[in-house]
Subunit: 568 residues, 2 copies
Amino acid sequence: MTAVEHMKWWGWGVEGVGFHHEDKPAFAPFVLNAVGLDLSTATRAEQPVFDELNLAPSAARAEFTAALAGIVGEDHVSTDDMDRVVHTYGKSLRDLVRIRSNLIARAVDVVVYPADEAEVQKVVDAAVAEDAVLIPFGGGSNIAGSLEPHADETRTVVSLDMGRMNRVLDIDVESGLARIGAGALGPHLEEQLAAEGWTIGHFPDSFTHSTIGGWAATRSSGMQSDKYGDIAQIVRGLRVVRPSHDDRDGVLVIPAIPSASTGPSVREMIVGSEGRLGVITEVTAQVHRVAEVREIQAYFFPNWSAGLAAMQAISESDASPIITRVSDSRETGFSMATSKERHGIDALLAERVLPTLMRRKGWNLEDICLSFIGFEGGADHVKRQKKLVGAIVKAHGGMGVGTGPGVLYDQKKFDTPYLRDFLLDMGAAGDVSETAAPWSKLAGLYDGVVTAANRAYDEIGAKGWIMCHLSHSYHSGACLYFTFAFVFGDDPIGEYDVVKSAIQQAFVDNGGTISHHHGVGLEHSPWIEQDISAEGVAVMRGLFQAVDPGANFNPGKVVPVDRVRVDG
Amino acid sequence: MTAVEHMKWWGWGVEGVGFHHEDKPAFAPFVLNAVGLDLSTATRAEQPVFDELNLAPSAARAEFTAALAGIVGEDHVSTDDMDRVVHTYGKSLRDLVRIRSNLIARAVDVVVYPADEAEVQKVVDAAVAEDAVLIPFGGGSNIAGSLEPHADETRTVVSLDMGRMNRVLDIDVESGLARIGAGALGPHLEEQLAAEGWTIGHFPDSFTHSTIGGWAATRSSGMQSDKYGDIAQIVRGLRVVRPSHDDRDGVLVIPAIPSASTGPSVREMIVGSEGRLGVITEVTAQVHRVAEVREIQAYFFPNWSAGLAAMQAISESDASPIITRVSDSRETGFSMATSKERHGIDALLAERVLPTLMRRKGWNLEDICLSFIGFEGGADHVKRQKKLVGAIVKAHGGMGVGTGPGVLYDQKKFDTPYLRDFLLDMGAAGDVSETAAPWSKLAGLYDGVVTAANRAYDEIGAKGWIMCHLSHSYHSGACLYFTFAFVFGDDPIGEYDVVKSAIQQAFVDNGGTISHHHGVGLEHSPWIEQDISAEGVAVMRGLFQAVDPGANFNPGKVVPVDRVRVDG
């Protein structure tokens, strides 16, 4: 069988790794307070049993599967149930609940693992000839419903797993440009780059289990995008396979040009297209020399508005940090509660000295906000950046606490998804929703979202929790990243929908976008019209229908389009 | 009549302003050497006479013109010949030659000046109902053939002049976002912003005679885009009028979000669309506080490759200048030749001390390259930036010569187009072509373009000139901006085509794009398929056909599309 590794079929990450709180004494009390869940008495759910899943047999015709095997080899086509299940969902809360609840409305029929672009072209052509549906698959980390087939899809559904096309093919060292196979996972591509002294600088929460093709297809952002840019900036060149023609293949090639005025940007159409315009096989990405110095400094602010104002001031200043992040007071409390038990001088400083200092400043410890700001570059540059930022922090009433917490943040940054699985085991639903808005709207947006979430919790009769951090800064605004959780009752998905919908609606009602970096998929598509206007959706729909008249390419994602032909 | 001012119908800029060289003693010898034109004996062409133009009468039906007058008012619709001629061409060399040669194959039929978006909507609907062609018009400075009607267009052609929609409507001072009417000319919008302490930071060569709507529609870049970004980054929000529907208007609204993952970017489809997707009526642009300090420092490098290498090193460094520019030796010679006569200490320094210093360094004065690097920010920041850049310049064998030349550059930066008209008067054709490419390809691209141009000059039997500067730096590459000139013979446009085509083909043959910031229009569309691949063009064409099935919106620009319906 094919050597592509996947996450657990029923949850995040790899088998044998999970969240535990035995070494985090403040965690259980925190959870009890936040959502009313007593971890000491709650029963942990059993791991679901694969053999108990109700899975319809693959609808793929034997001739079609054989044709695919003729293209990629017998070992790289699978109608195996595990393969089909792994490729049917991403890892949204909705996905996790469904897989744990034995709810698979429509599994993919066949999984194909092409070795190269020529094979992708043949698979695409075979799928279109079969009038099948093609859904490209990277790491399977999507949380916007971009991967699942439509529940009522009657055609054969092919999941095109890009996992074998995972190599850094070439680095143009003069230009800082690397050609990378679309199926390269974050750690794998970063290792290959690091071996030559380079980094891509793209570190989304999903980094360990997501691919560069997936990042491009969903408009991902990383933790250091303040410096390195969102994936739309990092992706300079693209190769995308579309159906071939009588006289030529269907490979769309966008060369890696730093900037061009060649009409509407086809590059920016492919980025974010979630498989609807074709299969991304290769990305030429901007890469950077690994910086001489890298530091993440932690700061505290007396309250959220001071933290927001400081981030805004930094964005207007001469400083150029790589990360600007500030948590609201609830998330600050959460961070403290997930810290390991401190001992000796650490405990003394964190639990005695620091709080005393803050009280003396007149701070209310319930309101304090933890901030991380990252710096990279030459030693002089980093020193100067810290000085510029330090002055702004001080002017906004904040204080620096050094690099200690930042080191922890750096180590733990990819672990949060495991926590969600743990909570789900214990009976609580947790998920995330992010937005971006102009600076002038952030405070009102934040309040509106918290109010909407709390109203939704009332509606479903749950004690709920919502917390937030500002995760990326831009000249004209920032991303707010919300995490929410509640103990679910009889109808986890129905209850989740109430909360999630309230938050999404609060985004658009308060001047934010429906998604800053998680994509649209099925999860956010009900709000796309409120986001980019009915006419914006009409233009996007026109594009999809024109270039995919048979609706073979991941139909119905981003904008809800049924199977229509352009002349229909 | 409507109060919108336009450039000269037969050339660049305003009446009464032109290039002269009486105070530039080195200019005439330079021109003689460069293209073999003796300015002391050449006869200056007469200004063309408007009344001698052969202009077909307007094809607009009286009822249609009356309907338009019913929308915008009698004073704001014109079928006047001068209005029609002014709106038929941009200001490319091809345009100037044609207008001077009485070659107007197809003039626009009627010019409309709407006052607001509601009027634009009604004009758009009336035009589509009439099956007319709509061509939006900003400042008329386009040099890519984006404004002219197709020579064989049989339908009524409407030029939609946005000049009355020219106000800065609102500044969100917290977010640094300004809503600006699409018809606002550079100086007019910058004045309105400056009154409140802001700048848009966008200064293309055409600045004085181009509009923000035009910048957006053609993917413009400005001189300071290293800091402020190209227009695609500056444009955050957009309002675009498209045909209305039974149940709603046709206004496409992209809100000013700093970054979003909402599918293929409709914002990036509108940017660069050259009128093909609708009429841009309003832009929400990133604006910045006017910097405390602004300095343009001049440097000399011993040769072109040292200059290029230094710009590349700056782009990789911790420095972040606002402008990086280096001229090749020929353009450096040109700059010296267009300087005014120097006196006293200036003359001594420039003509004696500096050359002596350079010779002592072992430089060949024929090879030296002039560079401008700009800095903005707080005084400390600028000081540090200069230090960082100074060290890089030195490491590449260059030397700084202070701010004197930069002040001159700043003053003269918008004057170059007048020179082209002067040369045309004297019998020489001059024009510009720009590209962008990865750093690794720039040296080869430069050589390839110069070789191709010289081969083209041989082909047409002219003594020709080509010079270049690097005008914008990015992480992974840069823009090279070429200026070329030759004395034309009997067939100026035919000869120009040979040279221009050779240059464009050399761009794509050597890994560059066909246009970095001038757009595509008709001029560059023959190369669009070589630039973004046949499949890229198929996607773009699909978009145009889907959203403009009647081909009413500036048809045939960017990609050559005939009047086809999507079901055709």
